[in-house]
Assembly symmetry: none
Homo-oligomer: 401 residues x 2
């Protein structure tokens, strides 16, 4: 029996409120031997107070040594086995621009490219076309009609856009058309089974019409398609945990990931302060609140230790407003580590603190990697965060008599 | 998807060097309540310095409470699920004498025994014949020819020797011929399927010819066969991790275990100092180096606490020579615990320290069981050591986008 089957059976409902505050890429490293991490360097009195009240630990997001992308990191934190539920490239690209994929959708990553008179690719990225130039072209492709299907086109960035085919019985086992080379024409998409052949036919028709619509373009007169993918078939927070869940985020990617597990995206905040405004506004309407803060990751990715420290301090500053709502359970963590030293996501486990009346005190005096390493929650796989939160919220029945 | 599938997908190559220094049976116990373990007693300034620089933890080799044999202990440390990849007795015996088993080989553990005039066993161990007496007899059996197969015979020790049948389509589901009793004749080998019946026929023919060759012997005039086994079908370090791996060991068993996972056995050192000489000589030719030190286990098996302490001190003394090579990642651990107090392998988890630029400091001041228990790597299953080493070497791509 897997974890979700167990939780489907054991969960019950009550009027508790659970808040999951996520600082993206929270975990870090010291820049020099003997130094402190970003989290250990930051002045963060509110987070430290949470550590003194609650129980701390370290989460392994996927498996030891495995560095999570944003998709797998969030799915794991949401309690979904990230190796079982893999989000294909096309689906992640659509999710990343906030497109809410339905069960009958196949999403595809597309690149504008440059074709010569013989239809051979001369530039796989259409001369690195700017977003300002490419977005109107993507929108122009919305004119494309394919019998029996709905087609959606969304600009992404520079030469990239995403196409979604919506219809009954479309498969996603379709080969890429990008030959990964210049001097040759794009490949034809090929479906591995009847459902995917249907998708491949739609893709061919899309490409045919797109070539006509783009014929006047000097650079972006063609396109390639990669990573055909349906969204993974995942049960919702409501089904598995019995939770009405709200997602509060600034960036489309995280709204999209939350939607994949059935959370409702609320508000359209553009800063952390506005995110907490939204939290206050919708407090009575949900049981569970995922609040996402992006900039700890961004500054880590920049390799900017001091800026990441400041972002942690900004994150710390909103904790009192969250506590004022009197959540039954508050958890603070990240979806992966992004040490400034590495300027990238990493495999290092992520500190987590849970605060609830039922927490066992563990002597942690601060919220940090080194304190959490010896915390009461120990080292655990991230998929167990959700059962811990449900337990502290009194939302899980006893297993067996 | 299992761990190896994931690592096949995620590994990449670079010019990093990884060293895995193994002190066999490293973990221990205090002899008296309130005492220290062998590792805690030893003067080991170099290992302690590694603990201050790196991240420590405790590895569970198989599962909590399960004591590993040398085979499963090493396989786990090498990242191979020791429950999935079981090495049959015959294959382990052949491996233990340094015989490189191929994919078409079936290995069998054999005992010389004494038969009476009616062919009944009177002594299952041929009067505990000495190695000096039995080895020439095993070598005499190399005269045996079996049509369509190659046959190899290797002396082991005292009454034990090993036979390897090599040929296409040989199975290893063959019953033992040792009746585990005296006063009865050896059993006929029986194959459970056509491939194994072919092996059983070869075994019968081997026994027939051996009886003729041994007819002049007073004690060792017969033999029994047990533990027919092919080598487990394991992917190599190159396939799974993308590593060119070298194994440096004194004892045949550990060379054999390393060969099973595709490491290349280099040099023929006869001491730890010579092992490090070999390490220095082959440094430019490989990505990964497994260096095995036997005597910590031997002295633990003897129940000789003080001698095991001295072996740990000898092991400590070569660390500076390893560090002088500037490995990107250095890990020090054991394949299991061998507490002198128990004079045997044990299930206790094994301390491990990883040193690399990307280690998160954990406050450990020494390399010991009690310090590692609170280390930054936490308590983890040994099969995750390899992904951690690959990660620290920058040899793993991010999982998902």
């Amino acid at each position: 029996m897997d974890l979700h089957s167990l939780l489907r059976e054991l969960h019950k409902r009550n009027d508790s409120k659970i808040v999951l505050l996520v600082a993206d890429g929270l975990g870090g490293l010291p820049m020099e031997p003997g130094g402190k991490t970003e989290l250990e360097t930051a002045h963060k009195p509110n987070l430290d107070a949470l550590a003194r009240r609650g129980s701390s630990g370290l989460m392994t997001m996927i498996k030891p040594g495995i560095t999570p992308g944003s998709g797998p990191g969030h799915l794991a934190m949401f309690g979904y086995d990230p190796i079982r539920y893999q989000i294909g490239r096309g689906a992640l690209e659509a999710t990343g621009v906030g497109f809410a994929l339905g069960p009958n959708d196949v999403a595809v990553r597309c690149n504008f490219c440059t074709l010569d008179a013989q239809g051979r690719i001369t530039d796989r990225r259409a001369g690195r076309i700017s977003s300002e130039e490419s977005a109107p072209l993507a929108i122009r492709l919305r004119q494309i009609k394919i019998a029996g299907l709905e087609v959606f086109v969304e600009p992404v960035k520079e030469h990239r856009f995403v196409v979604v085919f919506r219809g009954e019985g479309l498969g996603d086992q379709v080969t890429d058309t990008d030959p990964q080379a210049t001097g040759v024409p794009p490949l034809d998409p090929v479906g591995a089974d009847p459902a995917s052949q249907r998708t491949a036919e739609a893709a061919k028709e899309f490409i045919r019409q797109a070539r006509q619509l783009l014929a006047d373009q000097p650079h972006a007169n063609g396109l390639t398609m990669r990573g055909f993918a349906k969204r993974p078939d995942m049960p919702t927070y409501e089904e598995v945990y019995g939770l009405r869940a709200a997602a509060i985020a600034v960036y489309p990617m995280y709204k999209g990931l939350a939607q994949l597990v059935g959370m409702k995206v609320v508000g359209s905040p553009s800063s952390l302060k506005e995110e907490i405004d939204v939290l206050e506004q919708v407090w009575n309407d949900f049981d569970f609140f995922f609040v996402h803060f992006k900039y700890t990751d961004s500054r880590g990715e920049d390799g900017n230790f001091e800026a990441k420290v400041r972002m942690i301090e900004e994150f710390d500053s909103i904790v009192p407003r969250v506590l004022a709502l009197k959540p039954s359970v508050l958890a603070v963590t990240g979806d992966h580590s992004t040490p400034s030293k590495l300027a990238s996501h990493s495999w290092h486990p992520v500190p987590v603190v849970i605060v609830a009346d039922s927490c066992r005190p563990d002597g942690c005096q601060e919220f940090s990697e080194s304190a959490a390493c010896r915390g009461g929650l120990g080292h655990f796989e991230a998929i167990y965060l959700m059962p811990l939160l449900l337990a502290h919220a009194g939302r899980l029945e006893k297993f067996g008599a």
